[in-house]
Structure formats: structure tokens, C-alpha cells
Symmetry: C2
Subunit: 382 residues, 2 copies
Amino acid sequence: MAKDDKFSVTPWTVTGKVDYDKLIKKFGTQPLDDNLKRRLEKLSNGSHVLIRRNTFFSHRDFDKVLDDIENGMGFFLYTGRGPSGPMHIGHIIPFVMTKWFQEKFKANVYIELTDDEKFLYDEKFSLDDSRKWSYENALDIIALGFDPDRTFIFQDTEYIKNMYPLAIKVAKKINYSLVKAVFGFKNETNVGMIFYPALQVIPTFFERKRCLIPAAIDQDPYWRIQRDLAEGFGYFKASAIHNKFLPPLTGPEGKMSASQPETAIYLSDGPEIVKKKIMKYAFSGGQATVELHRKYGGNPDLDVSFQWLKLFFEEDDAEVDRIEKEYRSGQMLTGELKEILINKINEFLEVHRAKREEAKETIKDFKVNGQLALKMWNTILE
Amino acid sequence: MAKDDKFSVTPWTVTGKVDYDKLIKKFGTQPLDDNLKRRLEKLSNGSHVLIRRNTFFSHRDFDKVLDDIENGMGFFLYTGRGPSGPMHIGHIIPFVMTKWFQEKFKANVYIELTDDEKFLYDEKFSLDDSRKWSYENALDIIALGFDPDRTFIFQDTEYIKNMYPLAIKVAKKINYSLVKAVFGFKNETNVGMIFYPALQVIPTFFERKRCLIPAAIDQDPYWRIQRDLAEGFGYFKASAIHNKFLPPLTGPEGKMSASQPETAIYLSDGPEIVKKKIMKYAFSGGQATVELHRKYGGNPDLDVSFQWLKLFFEEDDAEVDRIEKEYRSGQMLTGELKEILINKINEFLEVHRAKREEAKETIKDFKVNGQLALKMWNTILE
């Protein structure tokens, strides 16, 4: 948990305007610096917008993953999703990154759907709810293009038997003091939540290689626990790269929230809804009138549409520069900027919808029949 | 937990000389009185030594189980074993009782082997240890004569997938305050132990009938939690009958302990060892010399050999009376009394050893292939 007067980041809530430099200091992680980026570019023969633009801004031991690529040992990837509702644009960032690493390095990917955790966390949420969303979210994840023979998607309540023996070994090493300190658990916290951190650690032990976890920074407390325990179990300390949150449409504070649909674009939003939401809600860095805007220019650092383009949607660096300059100078109006984002998002979502339909067929490969899934169902982690 | 200056009873330790009347008050249970015993005798067309002699001395809602037998609804039985080592004579009391109820009323029996809990509890115990003992203990349990088509023996780490969805629903209703109060958990308690009580509740929900739990009184805290939750889940409050501990060979305090082999007779002890242990260690109520014994008589209330005969091993009431009188009068010497117990135990263990060999064949029916086992492996508790 990172808390100060201005913002707070925990695995369950984010409030205030997150200061990412402060977060690096508080969480004790490292900035993802140019040296690492250059090494990755060389090894991957490419570069990804999410890294170039610093959307992934922080890491733990990412340099060691690069070492393991260089020395031929390889690595595997792990990320997950708390299936608490429909997925929005912000949720896919770690998955897009994970898929890119898989493609570049032919690495195995493990995706945990934490139906137990989401049920345990939310008083009003039923287990049927979190299972329904596990299925729906899996379709959205698969649509991003994972390799069905190198990706295993599993739901905690379904895969528990394979994980439980190792989970209790991990649980035996985690006492109440620790989870109280790390997650802020209280006397009122239910015993399911208290046990759950042991389960989230287990996939980092799915292979005897280094595990790279692309995930939002709020999940880092779990990896801190993992890193204290891993070597005692004969595994590697997890390596992680941390992404910033895409700011909510409505402004730079907090993160997109399922309970406030106007803060987010959902993967299920049709072209008209996307247009309407961005036009109506996207927080603008522009001036109050066209005249003032032409005179003083807009502020792309505050403008959510520009931030979304920069953090994720516009892959072309030259184009991002052009937009930034024109907007800052006043040459480009907020409406024009929004139009660019609307088109980018709708292009993305059109492809996504088609791929999501196909995923209804292929989901069985990711969960059961694919090469990696078959292997994992035959593995009891001990 | 029941603690006072003199004795303490928790699911993990028993110290001091247990005052069972006090325990009934502290735990808020009811004495198993003559009225209930008479009703049971009538319904069962019989009577069992463990009930006649008050070895089972306390209950919760046992009257309601008798109602449900009378009104034709029936009931089911649940008990368990923490597989922390070899089983001794004291361990089999609840199983002998359970088996009798099954035989008399053709009731289903569920036997939980808590390999997870024993591993989580003991710092030095490995999961392999508790699994090995799960197998060994299951053989001893089966040898007592359970019906392979009406008995399901399961190990938590093996059956977890079928229980976990319901276990997290139960866990969601149990907060840290509660387990702290009920079990005395501390900041140092590991998160596996903290979650575990939710799992021990689940078998009480295996059927939509009343569940009768014959178990030592130290397990009662779990049933208190169960009884607060059951009706909210649409199940019955568990009913329980509680047995006293057979006193350790070495004296009336505490309970037999695996770490002090001289305190217990193990089911694996051969005739010579039984003889030697009882002759050497069994706490005697006799006088210091034969002359004094003849003059003042022995004290059967303190004599562990007599207590074992009375609580379990001598089924014939008239014979118990005779022994008691003769010992109290000084007519029977401690050596003679011990001889009676040695013969009783060795007769029992000789039969047990043969049945335990047969259990190596039938264990698969209890765990996997029997009628009830088959049904339970196809059931996910929700």
C-alpha cells in the first residue's frame, strides 16, 4: 500500500492523482530506464509503444529477465485479471504487453482469473457473478492474440486442486502480521481474503525459470511477498514491469471505475457510445473558447484524449509529436484531438469485436485443450 | 478454547486434568442425559458402551437428530482425523461411535483427513508427512468396520476442488476477529491456519439433512462457528456428541501424546509392547505394597487401567462392576487389573491388525470407487 495525503494505491483501490516517481520510491522498485529499453529493443528486434512511451515505467529485476534471454535460459510470463465486471481499455494494457513478449520470445503465458478474490472482496458480489465475468473477460483477453498452445488461462475455483498443495506451503510462511502490514487487512477482513495472497503467488512457481509479470503497479505488494519467499522454495524471485493507469476519461485522478461508466471506454462500447463518451466526458486541456485556444494553445499534459493517444493508442511516434505540437500551439482544437482518439479507439474495437467472437471457439484451447493447458492440468504444484 | 487455571482444551492442545462438567458450562453444550440415552436405546434396539459409560458425555442438538430419526428424515455422520502420526487407542473412540451409528441407522459417513491443517499447524511437519499419515490412518479407520458404499474418506488436499467454492462462501462470513476469539489466533498465526476453519465446516453441508458429529470435545469450537452460519446457507446447524479423552497411561492429566510414546497404546503396538507399557507406565490407583493394598484397597477412580476398561474396553457392565468392587476392596491387585486390560487390548488389536491388512484392498472403495465416494467426486459443493 502506498498512501500519502494526495493519493493512494492498493490492489483494490486507487485514489487521487498518482505520482509515479513517488510510487517508485515508496514501493522500492526501479525506473524502466533507457538502458533497459535499448537492451530490450536489441533482443526483440523491435520496440513497443507501451515501453517507448513509458506507460510501463517501473520494474523489479527486469534486467535479469534480459540476462536470461541473452544466456538462453528464457523466462515465462504471468499476469491476471480480477473478474469483477466488463473490461475497459485500461484493463488490457498489461495483456497487450504480455502478448507482445510472448510473440517476440515464444514464451509461455499464464493468466489467472481470480474469481475467488473478487467474490471475497466485494460484499455484494456473488460467486456466480465472478464466474460469469471470468468467462466474458477471458474472451476479451484471448481476442488480443495470445498463442493457444503457449497460453494457459485458469480460474482459481477451477484450478485450485492443482495449486492448493503448494499454496498451503506458501501460506505456512505468511503470517497475519505480514498481510496486515502489506495489504492493510483488519480484524473485519474475512479469512478468505487473508488466505488469498498465498494463491496469487503460486503461478510465479509454475516453471523453474524467471517469471516476468507485466501488471499495473497496484499489484506489486503481492510480488514483494513472493520475492521474500521464492528462493526458499527453490524458485526465482519474480520479476515485474509495472504500468501506469490510463487516466479516467473524466480527469487525471484515480483510475477508470466500473461503477462510473462515464470514466471508461468498455471493450463492448459501440462506435456511437465511444464517440459520445469522449466528446462529452474526456477531460480537456483546451481553452474555454476557440478564440482563447487559438491564442494560448491547449495543454496536452492534462488532456486525457492526448494522454490516451500517447500512452497507448497512437503507435506512430512522429504522429504523437505532431499532435502534441499542434495542440500545444493552438493550431489543433480539442474537438479535432478527440476525433483522432475516437477513430483510433473505434478501429481498435472493430477488430477486437471480431476476434472476440472467434474466441468463443478457441477458449477451450486456452483453458483445457491447448498444449500448455493440457500440461498444466496434469501438473499438481507441490 | 476453554482455559482456566487448572486445565485447557483447544483443537491443538489439552493440558491439565480436564473437568468435563466445567467444560460443558464453558462450551455451552448440554450433558448427554439418561432421557436421551433411553430414546437412543429404543431407536437403535441396542446400547453402546461408549454412551452407557458416559465416555460420550456432552452434546449439541442430539435430541433433534433423534427427532429426525423418529420422523423418518434421517441424518448423516461426519468426523475426521488430523493425520499427524500413528493412531493410538484414544483416537479411535469417535470412529467406533460413528461406525455404530452407521450400522444401526444405515447412515452415510464422511471422514475428513485434514492433511492441510496438520501440515499448517506444525512447523516441523512436511506435507509429505501428513499425506503419508493420511494413508496409514485411513487403514486404521477402515479396519473399524465402516460400510464401503456408505462411507467417503477424503483428504483435504485431494478433495479441495469440490469443497473450495463453498469454502470461500463460508470464509467470506468469517472474519479475523472471530477466529481470533474462537481459536486464539495471533499475529504470528499463518494465513493457512486462519483460512482452515472454513474448510472444516464444509462437510457439515454435504447433505441437506442434520449432520451428527461424534468427536472429541476439543473440536467443538469449529461447530460453534458452523452453527452460527449454517441456516444462512440453507443447511442445518450441526449436531454433535462429544467424547472425553481416554486418560494417558501415565496419569489423569492432559491427553495421550504422540511425542511421548509411553503415554499411549498405538494400534500398531504388538502384544509384548502392550504388556510392557501397561505394566510399566499405567498409572495405578493401588497402594504402595500388597499388604497395604489388601488392607486399604485401590482407587479405581484414579487407576488408568480401570478407567480404560470402563470408558471403552470392557463391554460387560456386570464385569466392570465386579472389577471395580474387587479393586476397591483390595481383593484385586493392580497387577491383576492390568492383566485384564492387557488381554482386552491385545484381543482388540489382534482383530484390528487383520482387518487393517484387508483395508489395503478396500481403501480405494472408501476414497474413490464406493457408491458414496463416486457420488461425492461428482459433486462440487457450491
